[in-house]
Each structure stands twice: as C-alpha cells, then as structure tokens.
Symmetry: C2
Subunit: 362 residues, 2 copies
C-alpha cells in the first residue's frame, strides 16, 4: 500500500477520543462532540481523509469564533405528512443531520417517502453517512449539500457553484448495498493537492486556470479554485455536471432559504465568525411501498457488475461503494486509522491550543 508509506497509525478509538476531547474543549456538549467525531472517523475509515480529521480544525475555529453554536437545538419550522423544513440553528453538521434524517425516516415509514430540507447548517461531513443511516434501517437514503463556490458553470471564467455533493444508499439482500457518494465536480480539490505533492500535472478535464481555459498545472489549478463540473469541458458534456451541481443547490439553498451558490462564504482555517448557513436536503424512501423483491434485484445488479469482464484483469469492475467498503474492512481489521505526518502535526498543535491530551500514535 503505497499510500501507507510514512503514515502514522492511530487506534480508531483513540482518534475518536481525541476529536471528542477537542470539540468538547472548544465548547461543544458531549453528545454533539461524540456525533461529530463518529462522522469524521467514518470518513477516515471509508478512505476519504479530506472529510475526516482534516476538517476538525475548521469546526473548532467555527466554534471558537462563534460562527457555529454547537449547543443549540435544531427546530422544525414547517412540516407536512411527508416533508419538513428545519432550521439547524447553526449547530454542528452531525447534530442537525441526525435530527433531519431521523425526521425523514419517521415520515417515510408512515407515508412511503419524505423530503426534508435544512437551512442554517454547518458542514455535514461525508454525504454518504446520512444516506447510509437510512439504509441501515431498510430505507433508501439520499442526502445533498451545497458548499462554497469552487466550480465554474460551463463557459464561465469564474466559479459560482460548490462541489455540491450528494449521496444515495440502498440496502440489498445478502449484505449487499448500493452506495453512491459523489461531488458533482470532476474531482475534489484534495485530488489536485495530491498531484502537487507528487509533482505531477493534473489530467485534462479537472480544472480551469485564471483565463478560464483548461489547465494541466496542478499548482495553478489549486490556486485558481475553479474546478470543472463532472464531465469536464463543454465538448465532453461538462454542462451535465454543471446541471447536476445546480440541481443539488436547488434542493438545498433554493428550497431551504439558506445561503446559496455565489453567496456562500469561502471556508478556511481562519473563521471570521460569520455562520456558514449552508443548506442540506435529506430524502428517505421505503422500498416496501413498491415491487416486492427489491433487495434481491439490487444484489443481482451489483453482483452482475462485479462479474463483468474488465479491460485490465488486475482492475476488476467495482460496484458503486466497493472502494469504500474495502477501505472500511481494512481499517476495521487493524482497528486503526492511518494519517499523513502533516495531519499528526496539526493534531499536536490543536491539542496544545485546546489543552487536550494529544492523540497517541502507535
């Protein structure tokens, strides 16, 4: 595992303990801290470190600056049998997202489907976590979030949409599931950072330079923060990715009345105390309301894909979510999470700043 070279390993419970302690020291109550920690740990386990420990400092800064109010309580502003409009009241993302997805699941069990939209929210980590929460209870789950603008609508020189991720998770039979969690940009900024570290150019279709043209220069792409939507340029149907990101915004900020599109703040390590006021959307669907045999068909489908003849025998065809499941299984087996050295250093600095017991590495 090339990626593990030079990495520091930490027992999963210890990493979780550290996050809880930090959030608690910053002012969050124990439950809020524990829920947010579990969310970050899950991202690490699934192989998405950009949404794991890496985010902790952002959350801490938002709490310390007053941009986030971790001990408030989300409230339902309006509801029908199958919908709810919720004010997150600026709590941590995990707190409002548990509240919203619980609301959606309860309603979906009664009416078959529920659509819940949240305003006044903070970053909710990996979108898949929330869809998985519904799938764990036999429902199809979906989640959507708007984010700070880093994506250029097709033909535009400037960014005006976020990476606007969404997720859909559904339970199959025999322990199978369908797991999709994707940003609607071609790639996330983290992938460009990795090319910088490797000293390699970025592939075509990832990002624009300051003149709006495609760039292969990783550093320029990172500094410009103008990602292509999924599909790349207009020639390769990037307008579909743009439409997809726009649809996510429709379900989040436009339905929810939070900040949206170009109005969303840039998110950095320095919080100026302005709340994020993000919009989220959560959907739960009860597959029992439709044709019997849902789980078996789903399992048949994902297993068919895995058995397709691959172009390269060393790279088997995967079902959506297989990569994440493999990463999680590996992490569970060792009971540890691996971190890059820079992450360990940040955690040490954070421990010092918050007067918290540092995270112990193996």
């Amino acid at each position: 595992m090339e990626a593990d070279k030079g990495m520091a390993r930490v027992v999963t419970e210890e990493a979780c303990r550290f996050i809880v302690d930090c959030l608690h020291a910053a002012g969050a109550n124990q439950e809020a801290a524990a829920q947010q920690a579990k969310l970050l740990i899950e991202a690490e386990k699934l192989g998405h470190p950009s949404h794991g420990m890496n985010r902790l400092e952002f959350y801490i800064n938002d709490i310390l600056s007053g941009a986030c109010d971790p001990n408030s309580k989300p409230t339902i502003l309006k509801e029908t049998a199958s919908t709810a409009w919720i004010d997150a009241k600026n709590v941590l993302g995990a707190t409002s997202s548990h509240f919203a997805m619980d609301t959606a699941m309860t309603k979906a069990r009664q009416t078959g489907v529920a659509w819940v939209v949240v305003k006044g929210a903070n970053h909710f980590g990996i979108a898949g976590y929330w869809a998985q929460k519904a799938a764990d209870q036999g429902l199809i789950g979906m989640s959507f979030s708007n984010t700070s603008p880093v994506c250029a609508p097709t033909r535009s020189k400037e960014a005006a949409l976020g990476t606007n991720p969404f997720s859909c998770v559904a339970p199959g039979s025999s322990g199978e599931s369908f797991y999709l969690d994707m940003a609607t940009t071609a790639v996330a900024l983290g992938k460009i950072e990795m090319q910088i570290r490797k000293g390699e150019p970025i592939p075509p279709g990832w990002a624009q330079g300051p003149d709006g043209n495609e760039t292969r220069d990783a550093q320029l792409a990172f500094d410009t923060r103008c990602l292509y939507p999924l599909g790349g340029s207009e020639l390769t149907s990037g307008y579909k990715g743009y439409g997809l990101g726009a649809m996510v915004e429709l379900f989040c900020g436009i339905l929810g009345g939070s900040k949206y599109g170009h109005y969303i703040r840039a998110w950095s390590h320095e919080s100026d105390g302005t709340p994020a006021d993000l919009g989220h959307c959560f959907v739960a669907i009860d597959p029992n309301c439709f044709a019997p045999g849902f789980g078996d068909r789903l399992t048949d489908l994902v297993q068919h894909w895995r058995n397709l003849e691959p172009m390269d025998p060393n790279l088997p065809v995967l079902a959506p979510g297989d990569k994440e499941k493999l990463a999680a299984a590996k992490s569970d087996e060792t009971g540890t999470i691996s971190f890059v050295p820079q992450q360990i250093e940040s955690c040490l600095a954070l421990a010092k700043k918050l007067k918290v017991k540092p995270m112990e590495c193996l």
Copy 2:
C-alpha cells in the same frame, strides 16, 4: 443556422397530425395517439430530434408486433399517501407517464412530496416533458427511465447499463425556470452518428472500442455501442457517471420490478413482439412546503449564471435549459419544425405502409 441547411420544414400542426394518423392507423386510440404525438413534437421543438419523429417508427413497429398495447389502461398496484407503484400495462409511454405524473402531483399537493414508480412501461420520450408537467403546476418535477444497455460500467469491456436519463424541472418567478434533462452517459449515440455524418473523429471521453479502450473512431464507437458514462474514463471520474446511471436504475427497474440493466432488450426497427417492460420513476415536490421565496431565489440563481463572464464573449454562459428554450422559441416563432431529408423519406415510407396521408412539407 448550419443545422438548417438542406432541412425540410413542416408546419408544426401538420407534423403532429401525421404522427396521430400513423399511431391511429397502427391501432392506437385517438387520445393515446394524440398524447404520444404531443410528446414527440415537444422533443422536436426543444431541439432533441433523436426523441422526436425519429422514434415514431419504433413505436409503430412495437404496436404492430404486439409488443405495445396502446389501448390498455395503467393501474395502481400499491399505494400510500405519498407513493404509488403502477403497472403501465404496456401502453404507449405518454399514456402511462401522464397517469403516473398525475398521480404524483395529486399526492404531492396533499403531503408535500410523492414518489411514483412504474413497471411494464414503454419509452417515454424526453424525460424533461414529465418533469415540466409538474413544474407547469408550480411543483418541482423529476422523472427517470432505464433504457437498453449501451454504457460500460467503469473498467468494464461490456455495456451493462442504459443511457438512463433523468430530468428535474422547477418553476422560478418572472417566467424563469430550472430545466435539466440529461442522459447519464457522456453523450447519446445520436451525437456519435453526427460525427460519422461529418466524417470527423469523436472527442476523447465519449466511447469505448471493442477492446474496452477509448476510441476516437466514430464508426467503431457507433458499432460497438459501449458509451462512457458521464465523466469518461476512470481518470476523469467516469465512475461518478456510472454511479449516477446506476442510481437511475435503482429508482426504475429495481424499485419497480420491471426489466433492469443487462436484462433490457435492445430496441431496433424490427420488433419481435417482446414487450420492453421498462421502469420509470416520477417525483413531485411542493416547494411551498419549504422556505418562502423559492421562485425568487431560483430566478436570482439562473440569472446570476447567465451574467457570469464567459471565456469566449460569443459563447455566453447558459442556465440549464436555456438551449432548449431558445430552440422552442424559434420553432414557435415560425410555427414549423425542420427535419433532415432522411427523416422525411422515412415518414413517406411510413405513410405508404400505414395508408396514411403523407406529411406535407413547406
């Protein structure tokens, strides 16, 4: 307008009359024929001729072979306050889709959202038509369809998913709207046909050759029928488009119990009498159940995008759906539709075969 060179123009009502006459001559009742004709005409007006008159012969052949039963009636098999599972009973796509979207809209007005899944369906034309139907009544509409397999899951040599299109349309204020109608493949086969006609290679990221590798040869790509999902190869995140197409299948065949994925028949001019048994999904959401001011925010958003500085001053940034709206306005202005000569010839042959008055060109 380069595309209009050598095209034949037909008064819109005359084109519609011709479709109705053909479907009626093949055996469809007047209402079914009229609904299907309106659907095809709308595709022509919006600039998507692949889903317009071009499809008529397929529908006719399916009726004549007994694969489609245009005079049957869709029925609700199971329902809750916010969901319905419908058997299309193999009627024409427009008949079952009106029935299903009407069901969704009625339920959404009562509970805020509705999720309706259809099995036993035939091709429903452009997905946007059904989402627009809801948007015309102040709701957010979505529609999804599975299709015959022509798309290779990432890393696979073989196709196993359809172009699996979906649509989302939402009404803004001041006459604006959000209109997204997209296949989840990088491009549709029709775009590859156009490159063949122009004698030009296809761009990277569109399609695979028989060895599974990317091809630039338009004829080879067309014959192989192994399109890349949106995003192209694995390097440019094609697995996201694959996941997206898979999600559409989840909502259609997997929820609905119709044929799905690799089980869906190939669709050609020669129908062997086997019903298509496609799966469709229709969603309606009432924006009034969420934050007030939905329409104004939506309008602000699409207008902001249009005003972004474009890379090329001659190619202004478009909001999703602007291309379709411009095409429809042009068609409405002249009251005509333009067809390529091959299409006119097919219509003549069809008129002869069905003993119907030929379509009159201007």
